[in-house]
């Protein structure tokens, strides 16, 4: 019987965020597919996992969790001894990692998500891209990446010397953005570009992409 169950959909960036962590930690798990086209995530059974009706959700015994970043923090703590260390035990190092986890969530993700939606997802759904939204958010993302470039010139990874959740949390949106015109903003910044090449080559992330390619 698998230790944990991840309820989600490989196409969802938030689901991919949790799957990346599960693979990094090498945890025995069951992936329970949530059929979003059939509206399964808005029905009562799934709402008992996440009252906001969004994937992913996690079951670990009796514990039910949602919000991908909260799930990942739980996994990183509960399974600290397994697989890759994704958080620091030292409180001061963890404080810095925590800062950059907030940066991903508050500064990077809003612009990156909007761009992914407009440039990668909408075309797949036959919807037209809002060029004004794209222009506004490309400018915002460029400013964020300027800060990343300075940070990564001093530090191999965002949180410090080691790969942590602060880096991992970027992977799903990076995947979608790299198939669009936004890629140039990453390529033109050498430290950012090297960091992206490093984190997207990780075996655990390649397993997530393999799962995605089966859909």
């Amino acid at each position: 019987m698998a230790a944990i169950k991840v309820h989600g959909n490989p196409l969802s960036t938030a689901s991919m965020r949790v799957l990346a962590t599960v693979y990094e930690k090498e945890i025995d798990h069951e992936f329970v597919f949530v059929d979003m086209r059939a509206g399964e995530h808005k029905k009562e059974h799934f709402l008992s996992f996440n009252p906001f009706g969004q994937v992913p959700a996690l079951e670990d015994g009796d514990l039910k969790l949602f919000e991908s970043r909260a799930i990942n923090k739980y996994i990183a703590c509960e399974y600290a001894v397994k697989g890759t260390q994704l958080i620091y035990q030292d409180s001061k190092k963890m404080a810095i990692t925590s800062v950059w986890m907030e940066v991903e969530a508050q500064q990077y993700d809003p612009a990156a998500s909007k761009l992914g939606w407009e440039l990668a997802i909408k075309p797949l759904l036959g919807m037209s891209t809002d060029t004004a939204v794209v222009e506004e958010n490309e400018a915002k993302l460029a400013k964020v990446l300027d800060v990343y470039e300075s940070r990564l010139a001093q530090s191999k990874y965002l949180g410090g010397d080691c790969f942590t959740l602060a880096d991992l949390h970027h992977l799903p949106t990076l995947h979608y953005l790299f198939g669009t015109q936004v890629k140039k903003h990453f390529d033109s910044r050498p430290h950012v570009s090297a960091w992206v090449a490093d984190i997207t080559a990780r075996p655990a992330w390649l397993k997530v992409l393999a799962l995605l390619s089966q859909q």
């Binding site: 514990l63 969790l65 919000e67 409180s91 963890m94 925590s98 800060v147």
Partner: protein, 265 residues
């Protein structure tokens, strides 16, 4: 004549401090945590009107040029929620443990509802407060369509909160945590707007979130800040308006040294 850099160096000799301004909800988020714990930290004002937050030396504390930033010894942090997480972990044995760190299950629930606040509550409430409170200060009229759209989003989020709080005393469970505290800055301003009935019409949300001690102090401070022209006011001791809230069993509102008798045997 000392330069801006020298002034900042002098400030850095303070052992611990929050750089920011209390009218800012993000600075308030950290300050309310410190009030909750009864801890003595300096508030180091940032001259937002002069754009100090966008320049050095502040930018060396937060490369995004936003308040607050936090310093304590060699630790230098930004992002209010990260600052609070660090402090709550550090101070878990002082007063209430706001991360519920004795149980991984409970602390996971705190993390969930902190994420909910950050990703679902913060955005619509920020937009609404900006329209109703900030934009009129620049002589412009609020955009009613924007307010209506964001209120609809916020309403759906608050419906989930109402359901949650009908089963659970606080968001993460039976104990007050950072997940609840992080909502206070926006809630305090929100309750002063014409949209406050979104809270008052939901009995469990109103009961749990609007009648906690720190809310009362934050409420008074927010009221004072709305009526001020100055960007930042720093108090050396609690202003008259909140002393009665802070008074303890012997009628004092300031910290003092108490001698604890040791019973032999």
């Amino acid at each position: 004549m000392s330069s801006e850099g020298d002034r900042f160096k002098v400030n850095m000799t303070y052992s611990r401090g929050v750089h920011g301004a209390l009218f800012s909800t993000c600075t308030a988020r950290v300050w309310i945590y410190l009030c909750e714990k009864g801890l003595d930290y300096e508030l180091l004002p940032i001259d937002m009107v002069a754009g100090a937050h966008k320049q050095q030396p502040f930018r060396s504390l937060n490369p995004f040029g936003e308040i607050p930033a936090f310093e304590e010894g060699e630790v230098s942090l930004f992002e209010s929620r990260a600052i609070n997480r660090y402090l709550a972990r550090k101070h878990k044995d002082i007063g209430t443990d706001l991360l519920l760190s004795n149980s991984l299950t409970q602390s996971a629930l705190v993390e969930i509802w902190m994420e909910v606040e950050a990703h679902k509550f913060d955005s619509p409430s920020s937009v609404i407060l900006r329209q109703i409170i900030v934009i009129p200060k620049y002589g412009k009229a609020p955009d009613k369509q924007v307010i209506e759209t964001e209120m609809e989003k916020l309403g759906k989020v608050l419906d989930v909160y109402e359901e949650r709080l009908s089963k659970s005393k606080y968001l993460a469970g039976e104990n007050y945590s950072l997940a609840d505290l992080h909502h206070i800055p926006h809630l305090v301003y929100f309750m002063k707007t014409s949209e406050a009935n979104a809270i008052t019409s939901r009995p469990h949300v109103q009961l749990r979130h609007c009648f906690h001690q720190a809310n009362r102090c934050a409420d008074v401070l927010a009221s004072m800040s709305i009526d001020q022209d100055a960007e930042c006011i720093s108090f050396n001791c609690p202003p008259v308006d909140i002393r009665s809230i802070l008074e303890d069993a012997v009628g004092l509102y300031v910290n003092r040294v108490c001698f604890v008798s040791v019973v032999p045997g």
